[in-house]
C-alpha cells in the first residue's frame, strides 16, 4: 500500500494501481473516454490528463501508476487547461446534432463538455463527415459522431474474443468500423452500445423511440440462460423500451448477452396472448377470466383421476410459478409434473442429484486451470459464462470439448468431434485414461473404451490442473444417453479431482428442482413418496388432461411430433402462455394469457444456485395476469387448501422455508442400463437448440431473429455424408423421422461429424419432426 494525495486529500492505494482506479474508488471525478475498467488501457483520448507534482507535463490518470508520496491535482489550472484542451479538440469534428442523437441525455461527451467545454467554438473550418455503416440488425451506427476512443475495438479483442471492430485509416481519416462491410455477429455485441461514450453506436431496435430522460430504470434478472445476468429495464408508459446490464461483479460483471439485451422485443410481438380464450367447436373465442378459469377448473375436476393429469412447465418460469404449478397438480392428486421438456433420457431418475448446479460460482470459472465440457456450445448457450471460461483459457487453462458439433470458439481449446454415441465412448475413454472403473452402466462402457491419445490428453489436463471442472451442457442434457454421460462425467471428475457441474439450460432449470417441478421430487428437492411419470412417459402414454405453463408445443419439447400427438389426443389442454402460435392453438382447449418477462415479480435460481428475486416492472399486456396469480386462483377454484397467497414474496418465502438447509449437491448414483440409445444404423439428427430459439420470448425478438445466429432451419451435413445421400448444397431435401416429414434446404457444413445431420430444434419448419437426437433419413425433394 502507498499513500498519495489527491487535491489535498490523502488516499491509500495499492502500489501499481492506476491513478484513475484510485480516484474512482474515492469518488473523485476525472473525465475520461477511452478508459474503461474492464478494458486494456489505451491512454489515447487524453481527457483524463491531471497534474502530478514534479512531472513536467500533465499525465493521463488512466495510465499513471500511483507511487508513494505522489501529489495529484485533478482540478488545478494545469489539469483543467489540459482537460479543456482535449475537449476542444474532441468537439471540433463532432457534430452538434445532440437534438437528434439517440445518445442525447446519456452521452459522456455531452456530460464532460458541460464540465470542460466552451460555450462557443474557435473552429471555423469544415467538419469531418464519416458515412454510417450497416453492421447488422442490432447496432445502429453514426460514425461521424465517433471520437475514436476504441472501446468497441478493445471490447472485441479482449472481451468478445473476436475482432469485429477495428480502426482503418490514419490521423483524421481514421475510421472505426468493420472490415469490408462485415456485420457484427458476436453474441455479446450489444455491449458496445453501452461502451460507446457518444452516439456513434446505438441500439437499432430502440432507435428514435424514446429519450433517456423519459425513461424509468428498474432492476431485473435475465430470463433466458442459467447465468441470471442482472439487468436494468428502461421503461416508458408501461412499456419496456430497452434493456441494459446492471453491474454485478460476481455474475455478469458489466456485460449482458445480446439475447438478454434484445429479447424484450418479443414482449410486443403480434401473437402475444392478451385475452383468455376458449375453443368452442374448433373456433377460438375471447372470454372473461372468470369464464376461462371456471372452465379450466371444471375440466380438470372432470378428469377425476389424478394420474390422468400432467403438468408440463417451462424452466423459464419463475420459482413461484413452478411451486404453485406443482402445488395445484399435486392438489389434483397427481405427481405428473416435469420441467425437463428437452430431456430425452430419464434412466437416471432417482439416482441423479436433486439440487444439481454448476459446482462452483460463476466468477470462479475464470480461475480454472482445466475444463472439460461435454455436449455444450456454451458460447451460445450461456454467453456470459463462456466469457468467463474464455478468460480462463486465455490465461492458460486447458479447455476441452466433447461434442457432436465443431464449435466456433474464440480461444484455443481441444475439440473432440464425434457422433452422439461416440461422445459416450470418448468420455468413457477419458475415464479409462484416468484409471477409473465406475459402477453399473459406467463400468460396462468404461471397460469397452480405449484410452487413446486424445483421451489421455484430456485426462492429464484435468488431473494436472490445480482447479479443474467437468461440465455437462445443453446438448448433453438432450442426449439420448444423458444418463450414461452424466454418470461418466461424474466418474471422470471424481477420478481427476475436478469439480463436477451442470450448465443448466434455462433461467430457472435449477429452481425448478427446488420448487418440486419434477415427478419424483417435492419442493425443497425432497424425494416424493409417490412418483409421477416423467415428461417422456407423459407423452408416450398420453394423459387425458394437460396443464401447460409457458411451454410451446412444437418448439419447447424434445420430440415435437410426440408432443403434438399426445396433446391432440387429450380431452383437455389448458395452456398458460405468454404467446400463441398455430401449434398451440391446434393443441389447446383453453389459453390463459400470462405475464411475460418484466411483467411479473418472481425469483430465478441460477446455475450457481443463487436466488435472485425481481419485481414486476410493467403491467402485463392486455388482460394477461402473472401466472402465480392465475395458478393461485385455479387452486382456489379447485378448493385446494393453503392457496391464499397475496404476494409472490409470500409464495417464495414458503418455498424458501421448505428449502432451508438444502445444499447444492452433484453426487450421482448409478444406473444399470448401458444400452446406447444414441447408437443408430443410419444418420442421427443433432437437434441442438440455437440461442435465439430457446424460449417463447426470444423466438419473437425480431431484431435477434435477423442475426446470423438465427439462421432458419436447415439440414446441415458434411460434404462426404451429403454425397452419400445424393445431396448438394442448397438442395431441398425431405427429412423423415419416426414417420414424420419436413422439407428443408441442405447446407454443407464441415463442422458436422460423419454419421450426423444437424437439424436444430426450436425452429420454424421442425415442428413436425421427432426427437432432437434420433435416426433420420434424407431424400432429395
Amino acid at each position: 500500500m502507498v499513500t498519495i494525495e489527491v487535491n489535498g486529500r490523502e488516499l491509500k492505494a495499492k502500489a501499481g494501481d492506476m491513478l484513475i482506479e484510485v480516484t474512482d474508488e474515492a469518488g473523485i471525478d476525472i473525465p475520461r473516454f477511452c478508459y474503461h475498467k474492464k478494458l486494456s488501457i489505451s491512454a489515447s483520448c487524453r481527457q483524463c490528463l491531471v497534474e502530478v507534482k514534479n512531472a513536467p507535463k500533465p499525465l493521463p490518470a488512466c495510465a499513471t501508476p500511483v507511487m508513494e508520496g505522489m501529489k495529484v491535482f485533478t482540478r488545478s489550472p494545469l489539469a483543467l487547461a489540459a482537460q479543456k484542451g482535449t475537449m476542444e479538440f474532441l468537439l471540433i469534428n463532432h457534430p452538434l446534432d445532440c437534438p437528434i442523437c439517440d445518445q442525447g441525455g446519456e452521452c459522456e461527451l455531452q456530460d464532460v463538455a458541460v464540465a470542460c467545454g466552451s460555450d462557443a467554438s474557435r473552429f471555423v473550418e469544415g467538419k469531418r463527415v464519416v458515412p454510417a455503416k450497416n453492421i447488422g440488425p442490432l447496432i445502429a451506427t453514426e460514425m461521424t459522431r465517433c471520437i475514436h476512443c476504441t472501446r468497441c475495438v478493445r471490447f472485441g479483442e479482449e472481451i468478445a474474443g473476436i475482432r469485429e471492430m477495428g480502426a482503418t485509416g490514419r490521423g483524421e481519416h481514421m475510421v472505426i468500423g468493420t472490415y469490408i462491410e462485415k456485420s457484427i455477429d458476436s453474441e455479446l455485441s450489444g455491449n458496445i452500445i453501452d461502451l460507446c461514450p457518444v452516439g456513434a453506436l446505438t441500439s437499432k431496435p430502440f432507435r428514435f423511440s424514446a429519450r433517456a430522460w423519459e425513461l424509468t430504470q428498474v432492476e431485473g434478472v435475465a430470463p433466458h440462460d442459467s447465468v441470471g445476468s442482472n439487468l436494468h429495464l428502461h421503461l416508458r408508459s408501461n412499456k419496456v423500451m430497452r434493456v441494459a446490464p446492471k453491474d454485478n461483479e460476481s455474475i455478469n460483471e458489466c456485460w449482458i448477452s445480446d439475447r438478454d439485451r434484445f429479447s424484450y422485443q418479443g414482449l410486443y410481438s403480434d401473437d402475444r396472448l392478451t385475452v383468455p380464450k376458449i375453443k368452442q367447436s374448433g373456433e377460438w373465442q375471447d372470454v372473461t377470466w372468470e369464464v376461462a378459469l371456471d372452465m379450466a377448473a371444471a375440466g380438470l375436476q372432470e378428469i377425476g383421476e389424478g394420474e390422468q393429469i400432467a403438468t408440463l412447465v417451462s424452466p423459464s418460469s419463475t420459482l413461484e410459478e413452478l411451486y404453485l404449478a406443482q402445488k395445484v397438480t399435486r392438489g389434483l392428486g397427481s405427481n405428473n409434473i416435469d420441467y425437463r421438456l428437452r430431456q430425452g433420457d430419464f434412466r437416471l431418475d432417482g439416482a441423479e442429484p436433486a439440487f444439481s448446479w454448476l459446482g462452483l460460482k460463476i466468477s470462479e470459472i475464470e480461475n480454472l486451470n482445466a475444463a472439460l465440457l461435454v455436449g455444450s456450445n456454451t458460447r451460445k448457450e450461456q454467453p456470459i459464462l463462456a466469457h468467463n471460461l474464455r478468460k480462463a483459457a486465455v490465461s492458460g487453462a486447458k479447455v476441452h470439448f466433447i461434442n457432436p458439433l465443431q464449435l466456433e470458439l474464440n480461444y484455443t481449446a481441444g475439440q473432440q468431434l464425434t457422433t452422439p454415441a461416440g461422445m459416450v465412448q470418448s468420455l468413457a475413454a477419458v475415464a479409462k485414461a484416468l484409471g477409473a472403473t465406475g459402477e453399473g452402466a459406467a463400468a460396462k462402457v468404461i471397460d469397452k473404451a480405449v484410452a487413446d491419445d486424445d483421451a489421455k490428453a484430456i485426462a492429464s489436463a484435468l488431473k494436472d490442473a490445480d482447479k479443474a471442472a467437468v461440465m455437462l451442457g445443453n446438448i448433453a442434457a438432450a442426449h439420448p444417453d444423458y444418463s450414461i454421460l452424466c454418470v461418466l462425467a461424474s466418474v471422470v471428475a471424481n477420478a481427476s479431482g475436478a469439480t463436477f457441474g451442470f450448465l443448466a439450460e434455462a433461467a430457472n432449470s435449477v429452481g425448478a428442482r427446488l420448487a418440486g417441478a419434477m415427478p419424483h421430487l417435492l419442493p425443497g428437492a425432497k424425494v416424493a413418496a409417490e412418483k409421477g411419470l416423467d415428461v417422456m412417459k407423459l407423452q408416450k402414454l398420453p394423459r387425458k388432461g394437460y396443464l401447460l405453463l409457458g411451454a410451446e408445443p412444437g418448439y419447447d419439447f424434445w420430440d415435437a411430433g410426440l408432443t403434438r400427438n399426445a396433446l391432440e389426443s387429450a380431452d383437455l389442454v389448458v395452456a398458460l402462455n405468454t404467446h400463441t402460435s398455430p401449434a398451440l392453438e391446434a393443441a389447446a382447449d383453453i389459453m390463459l394469457p400470462i405475464a411475460a418477462f418484466a411483467e411479473t415479480s418472481g425469483t430465478y435460481v441460477n446455475t450457481a444456485g443463487e436466488w435472485q428475486s425481481f419485481r414486476g416492472a410493467v403491467k402485463p399486456l392486455g388482460e394477461a395476469r402473472p401466472a402465480w396469480k392465475v395458478l393461485r386462483v385455479l387452486g382456489n377454484l379447485l378448493d385446494q387448501e393453503d392457496c391464499e397467497y397475496t404476494s409472490s414474496e409470500q409464495v417464495r418465502d414458503e418455498l424458501a422455508s421448505l428449502c432451508e438447509g438444502v445444499m447444492p449437491d452433484n453426487s450421482v448414483g448409478k444406473t444399470e442400463s448401458a444400452d446406447l440409445q444414441s447408437a443408430v444404423d443410419g444418420l442421427i439428427r443433432i437437434g441442438d437448440v440455437p440461442p435465439y430459439a430457446l424460449d417463447s420470448l426470444v423466438r419473437r425478438a425480431s431484431a435477434l431473429q435477423q442475426t446470423k445466429d438465427a439462421a432458419p432451419a436447415a439440414i446441415c451435413i458434411n460434404a462426404e455424408e451429403a454425397k452419400k445421400a445424393g445431396l448438394a448444397d442448397c438442395d431441398s431435401a425431405v427429412v423423415t423421422q419416426d414417420g414424420r416429414e419436413a422439407t428443408l434446404p441442405v447446407s454443407i457444413d464441415a463442422n458436422i461429424p460423419d454419421g450426423c445431420v444437424r437439424i436444430s430444434a426450436g425452429l420454424a419448419g421442425t415442428e413436425t419432426l421427432g426427437a432432437q437426437f434420433g435416426e433420420v433419413t434424407l431424400e432429395k425433394a
Binding site: 489515447s44 487524453r46 513536467p56 507535463k57 482535449t86 479538440f89 483524421e172 481514421m174
Partner: protein, 424 residues
C-alpha cells in the same frame, strides 16, 4: 576529418559488397568478439564510453539503452534496427544501406551478442526499394559467409536477421509503432512505460536503434569508445551524418565530426544556391523549430549548441532556406505532412494537426483572420506534450518556431491577402 565511421568505405568501388567491406577490416571486430567470447558487459561499457547518442533524432545514449536489458532473462529477445527514416529532410540512413550495409549487419550482430538476442529485424522505409535490395543482398552474403544463422563462427552464438519493408507511414519511425508494424498491426505508438527494453517486439525485451547508431558500433569497438567520443565534442560524441538539403549548390550526405561549425557544413554543401541570402535553417528535420540564417551561421552542429538556440539537432537533417521562400508556404507544407501522417490515436494530434493545417492554409490563401495567429500558437501548445508519442510535439514545434521568428510574414499575409516574399 570526414567519413570516418559509417561512410568510411565510400571511396571503394562497389563498397556494398562483402569483399570490399572485408578489405577494410569488415567483420574483424565481430570475429574477434566471437572468438574471444568478449564479455557483453565490456561491449556495453565501451559503447557507453563512446558517448554515442541515438542517431534517429531523440539522442538517447545508446550504451545506456542497451544496459536496460537483462541479458540473462530467459526467453526470446530481439534487436531491431530503425531504418524507417521518414523525417522530412533526412536521407542519411539510406546511404548507409546503399553503400555500407555490411557495417550495419555487423553492428546488429554485435548488439545482439551484447544483449543475448537471437533474432533481429531491420525495418526499412517502404519507399527505399533500392536500399532494401542492397540490404537483402548483404544479408545473403553474410549468411553465406557464416556471419548469420546458427552457431556463428563456431562460437555457439545464433543470430538471424530479417529485413522488413515498411508500408509508408511516417509514424512507424516511432520505435513502438515500428514494433507494432512488424507484428502486423496498425502502426500506432504504444503508451510508455513499459519501454521496449522490457516489453518490446511480441512483448519481449528488445533494443531498437537507428541505422547510423548500429552501423557505428563496429568502429567504436575497434578503435575504442574514447576514440569515437573524441571525434566530437562534449555531450555529442563521434561523427554524425548530416543530410543537408534545400537551396544549395551541392546538397547531400556528409559525415563530419559533431561540433563542426554550420558554416563549414554549408560550405561543403556548396553554399546557398545562386549566392542568395540565407534566410533560415531547419537544423534537425522538419519537426525542429526553424532558426534564422544569421543566428545559424554562428552555431556548431552538436546537440547542445542547437538546443541552446531553441531547436534540436534531431536526425541531422539540415534544411536550408534562402530568401525566395515564403515561410507561410513552408509551414503550410510541413503542417500538411503532419496532418497526413498523424496516426489518429491521440485526440490532440488527430484533431489538432488538421486544424493547424487548415488555419495555415487559409492564411496562405489570403483568408487569414487576425485571431488566427494566436489560435495557431494556442492549438500548437495544446497538442505539445499531451500525446503518446512525439509526433504531436513534432507538429507543434515548427508552428511555434515560425511564428516566433517570422510572425511578420504571417501578419502580412493576413493584412494584404498576399505574400510578403512575392510582393517584394
Amino acid at each position: 576529418m570526414v567519413n570516418e565511421v559509417c561512410l568510411r568505405t565510400l571511396d571503394l568501388d562497389r563498397p556494398w559488397l562483402l569483399e570490399q567491406y572485408q578489405s577494410r577490416g569488415g567483420y574483424e571486430m565481430l570475429t574477434r568478439i566471437l572468438k574471444e567470447k568478449t564479455p557483453p558487459e565490456e561491449i556495453i561499457e565501451e559503447v557507453k564510453k563512446s558517448g554515442l547518442r541515438g542517431r534517429g533524432g531523440a539522442g538517447f545514449p545508446t550504451g545506456l539503452k542497451w544496459s536496460f536489458i537483462s541479458r540473462n532473462a530467459p526467453g526470446q529477445k530481439y534487436v531491431v534496427c530503425n531504418s524507417d527514416e521518414g523525417e522530412p529532410g533526412t536521407f542519411k540512413d539510406r546511404d548507409i544501406l546503399r553503400y555500407n550495409p555490411h557495417q550495419l549487419v555487423e553492428g546488429m550482430i554485435i548488439a545482439a551478442y551484447a544483449i543475448g538476442a537471437t533474432q533481429g529485424y531491420n525495418y526499412i522505409r517502404g519507399e527505399f526499394w533500392e536500399p532494401y535490395e542492397r540490404f537483402e543482398a548483404a544479408l545473403k552474403e553474410a549468411r553465406e559467409a557464416g556471419f548469420l544463422g546458427e552457431n556463428l563462427l563456431d562460437s555457439g552464438f545464433d543470430f538471424e536477421l530479417h529485413a522488413h519493408l515498411g508500408g509508408g507511414a511516417y509514424v512507424c519511425g516511432e520505435e513502438t509503432a515500428l514494433l507494432e508494424s512488424i507484428e502486423g498491426k496498425k502502426g500506432q505508438p504504444r503508451f510508455k512505460p513499459p519501454f521496449p527494453a522490457h516489453f518490446g517486439l511480441y512483448g519481449r525485451p528488445t533494443i531498437i536503434n537507428n541505422t547510423e547508431s548500429l552501423a557505428s558500433i563496429p568502429m567504436i569497438l575497434k578503435e575504442g569508445g574514447p576514440w569515437f567520443a573524441d571525434i566530437g565534442v562534449k555531450n555529442s560524441g563521434g561523427s554524425k551524418l548530416f543530410s543537408i538539403s534545400g537551396n544549395l549548390n551541392n546538397p547531400g550526405v556528409f559525415e563530419i565530426p559533431m561540433g563542426t561549425p554550420f558554416s563549414e557544413l554549408l560550405e561543403m554543401a556548396g553554399g546557398v544556391k545562386g549566392g542568395r541570402k540565407l534566410k533560415a535553417v531547419i537544423p534537425g528535420g522538419s519537426s525542429a523549430p526553424v532558426i534564422p540564417g544569421e543566428q545559424m551561421m554562428d552555431l556548431t552542429m552538436d546537440y547542445d549548441a542547437i538546443a541552446e538556440a531553441g531547436s534540436m539537432l534531431g536526425s541531422g537533417a539540415v534544411i536550408v532556406l534562402d530568401d525566395t521562400n515564403c515561410m507561410v508556404k513552408v509551414l503550410e507544407r510541413m503542417s500538411y505532412f503532419y496532418h497526413e501522417e498523424s496516426c489518429g490515436q491521440c485526440t490532440p494530434c488527430r484533431e489538432g494537426t488538421g486544424w493547424l493545417y487548415r488555419v495555415i492554409s487559409r492564411i496562405e490563401n489570403g483568408q487569414g483572420r487576425q485571431e488566427d495567429l494566436d489560435l495557431l500558437n494556442d492549438v500548437a501548445a495544446r497538442i505539445s506534450g499531451r500525446t503518446i508519442c512525439a509526433l504531436g510535439d513534432a507538429a507543434a514545434g515548427p508552428v511555434a518556431g515560425m511564428l516566433k521568428h517570422f510572425r511578420d510574414e504571417f501578419q502580412y499575409h493576413i493584412d494584404h491577402k498576399k505574400c510578403l516574399v512575392g510582393a517584394g
